[in-house]
């Protein structure tokens, strides 16, 4: 029963990603509108995967990745960045601070599902 945390400020994207995650068997989607909201949600539920946008108000996706990787409790959670930032340096930066994968918008659902299935821990 994987718990997937979607961190995205756009309600449209959140709904679209939630829709896509319905294809992951028995998964539960938890939504957060920014990094701070995500950390709050993570403290109250066990999270198996994070799908995070980069450009968000309050706390952006890169800061969230740094905080998650710096926390011994959360540091192994796989993180997939989903962003409009398509430049190679943005991708490298996100991966260097600990994101597992980097996907640019507009997303292709089958690509996202492939990544989720690759990084979702076995047995969840």
């Amino acid at each position: 029963m994987p718990n997937i945390l979607i961190v995205e400020d756009s309600p449209t994207m959140r709904q679209l990603l939630s829709f896509a995650m319905k294809r992951i068997p028995n998964s539960t989607v938890i939504e957060a509108s920014d990094g701070v909201d995500a950390l709050k949600k993570m403290s109250s539920a066990k999270i198996d995967m994070i799908l995070a946008d980069i450009n968000m108000p309050v706390m952006d996706g890169l800061k969230l990745v740094s905080l998650v990787r710096g926390n011994p409790v959360y540091k192994t959670i796989p993180i997939i960045m989903i962003t409009t930032e398509g430049a190679e340096e943005d991708r490298k930066r996100a991966l260097s601070i600990g994101a597992n994968a980097y996907l640019t918008k507009p997303i292709q659902t089958h690509e996202l599902l492939k990544l989720v299935n690759t990084y979702l821990p076995a047995g969840t």
Partner: protein, 266 residues
Amino acid sequence: MNKAEEFLQMFRKGEEFTKDLLKENESLRYKIAHLEQLIERSGDEARTKIYEDRIALLEQEIHALKERYNKVEEENKDFASKYLEVEEENNNLANLYVASYQLHSTLDFSEVLRIVLEIVINLIGAEKFAVLLIDDKTNELVPVATEGLDMGSAPTVKFGDGLIGTVAKEGQSYFADDMSVNTAFDPMKPIVCIPLKIKEHVIGVIAIYTVLIQKEAFSTMDYELFNLLAGHAATAIFASKLYTQSERKLTTIQSFLDLLKEKPRQ
């Protein structure tokens, strides 16, 4: 002839007869051995024939299996491509559903505009664009929301003027042949211009100037979304605008009524 000679003669005859028998025996043994060899050889031939027949049969079976395998392989490929098509269709429907759901989820004018921006950024992949609505008083297209450019940089266009004005007048979408055509930003020359229509009545346009770096070309899905935006965004914008105006009027009337109630009787 004495008895001894008779016996000797008889013995010699017996010896000759035995020799003949032995010779005959030898000859028969040879014949048997020869016959056995013949039998064995003919057995080998028969077995070879059986094996050859069996090999031919197996080869036929292999050929038939290969044919079936190729057929199944082709069917598999067909199923795989159909699966991809269905997958893409699902993806498209999900996108359209979400876009339509979000557009009609509110009657707040600014929120509807924000949703239009979100759809154009996240689902289509536009980087720099503006939403322009027709001002009925001035008959001009006026920017009401922008992304990637300041509101001041977005153009105000006379209905029917230039590319944007023509799209608004004729109600036909415009797509540049080359998406990278507008490297230098020209507010009057978008690469895509979509009329926002309620039936045949145009209320505004979405003018896209640049797309995200990773966006190489517009897909079928993008054109579906443009169509959806042309209709649904127009309806949602129009309805929310009317609702906001009526709310404002209602508040004014309510305040006026409250004032009348409060006014002391002479």
